[in-house]
Symmetry: C2
């Protein structure tokens, strides 16, 4: 029996991280059969997809829809040969990283701090999703994409690019998505996208603190403690009934945590905008940052979907004075 190559995405996995692990493991094994590994003298290992954490509700839906079981859990890399997908940062990778041997990397992020003692296959394209980079590799090495693999790759692209609406989307993601939809027999991409993205929109069973903390970060802005969270939902009406509860919890968190301000983004994917909840010692400062008045719980920011690109920079500028 041949030795195993564990194909693994980042910690706290999202849909791309798990689906691209499955797709790259398949591609690697096809490369083995077709002699493409031999052409580059890459080790002829048998690839197996694994994951570093629990799949979220969205990922579970995608796997089930296209007939895949959840890959095995694997968090310790010691003594193992690994291929990384969707990350190239050691901190996001397997435990005991120094004792793992990295054999390949396929990604779409900034280049991280993964270094290797030997030449390896490392392909990172500046596109919206690792599955788009993989689509390039399938096509360019002449490997046909099976229908169900096309389905999870397409879902990963729809998830990562927020149905082609995020600022990270490239024309290549759209082309890849359309071609994968044809292979997968998906007629309406937007419909599938909404179906996929709606899985994390359902917060009905969640405790309010869990809703807030699912994607929440602390910042130091010119010496002031600022918190910024985000929830992306397919339609804000889905969380209409939880809004008061969320706002009251933010007020409580501000007091307990000694914050100057907390902002919380309720992002409406289909409307492509964000309702920004604001609790702050200086309303005028937040109003200056976004050029809008606070009314009620906060303000509506049309076209704003990215915390990193559209919320943190204007806040930092306003705090800097």
């Amino acid at each position: 029996m041949s030795e195993v190559l564990y194909v693994v995405g980042h910690k706290n996995p999202d849909t791309d991280s798990i689906c691209s692990a499955i797709a790259f493991a398949y591609l690697w094994n096809e490369w083995k059969k077709k002699g493409i590994l031999a052409q580059m003298k890459m080790p002829e290992l048998e690839a197996v997809p694994v994951r570093q954490g629990e799949p979220n509700a969205e990922t579970k839906f995608v796997l089930e829809k296209f007939g895949f079981s959840v890959p095995e859990m694997m968090t310790d890399g010691a003594g193992k040969k690994v291929a990384l997908v969707d990350h190239s940062d050691v901190v996001q990778s397997v435990d005991n990283f120094a004792q793992a041997e990295v054999v390949a990397v396929v990604d779409h992020h900034k280049i991280g701090d993964v270094a290797t003692p030997n030449p390896i296959c490392f392909v990172n394209l500046p596109v919206g999703c690792s599955a788009t980079t993989l689509k390039f590799l399938f096509d360019k090495t002449g490997v046909e994409i099976p229908k169900n693999i096309a389905g999870i790759m397409l879902s990963a692209i729809l998830s990562d690019t927020v149905i082609f609406k995020s600022a990270t989307t490239t024309p290549m993601d759209k082309t890849a998505g359309e071609e994968l939809a044809k292979i997968a027999g998906v007629e309406d991409l937007t419909k599938l996208g909404i179906e996929v993205k709606s899985k994390l929109s359902d917060v009905s069973g969640m405790a309010v603190r869990d809703i807030i903390m699912r994607d929440y970060k602390d910042y130091n802005m010119s010496g002031k403690k600022v918190g910024a969270g985000q929830i992306e939902v397919i339609d804000l009406s889905l969380i209409e009934g939880r809004k008061d509860e969320i706002y009251n919890e933010l007020v409580k968190m501000k007091q307990e945590g000694g914050y100057h301000s907390i902002v919380f983004m309720l992002t409406d994917i289909m409307k492509e905008g964000t309702e920004l909840f604001v609790v702050t010692d200086e309303p005028a400062l937040i109003e200056k940052a976004f050029g809008k008045k606070i009314e009620g719980k906060g303000m509506w920011l049309d076209g704003v979907m990215s915390r990193k690109k559209q919320v943190i920079p204007p806040l930092e500028k306003a705090f800097a004075g």
Copy 2:
């Protein structure tokens, strides 16, 4: 006028480092024309090849043979946008690296410590030459390779793989070489390879210390200072007249430098073996390392061409006891 992208190989450039810079700059500009940069939202810069040092005699020959002038010198990356070829280690890259913006990397080495703040195109294949990785990118993005570019890419492959004899050679390098030869109108690859590799074989005008130091490294082996140098020539008869001089200089260097041992590899490319000169305090140790007796200036090691893979490891093992 559009902003410039400087395509640059590593410090102390070899033929691959300069020829691949020229080839990738051409490919990038074709990507721009064909809309491939736009597909991935990569910056639409005008690529220009540069170099970080003097081209050696081999590189000069290759550029002249295929009608290229020597690229401009550029060692300072401050404030510049750069694409790296043939390296991904900061120490081998441009000065003031932290103030440069890396836009792309094309390589065939181990993955180094180059990290980026944003997603970029990073393609590293575990093959024998950066020009082989570039051949893949030309083909897979549908860009035709002009005759003269094919000539320098082929020369880079013949140089890096020592005419397909080095341990780093892969079947993909051979296929790429053969296809490039057709485009370049080169009928006899071995003949061109010998012509290319012979340019650094000519040491007639060089001072003996320069011959030794061209590729020379110090090692600490279990507390003992060991020096190991190498010269690769197309035919050892070319340096027959300098052998005594080289050996006597090694004896002098051993005394001056307080070495336990110095070994010097006179590697015959066509014969695929190495005459190893040995000056040492413990001849038995070196004999044990290679399983051969020292006769005269040293020993003949059949099939040995790589210092890193075939000389240093057995020496370190012998010194470790």
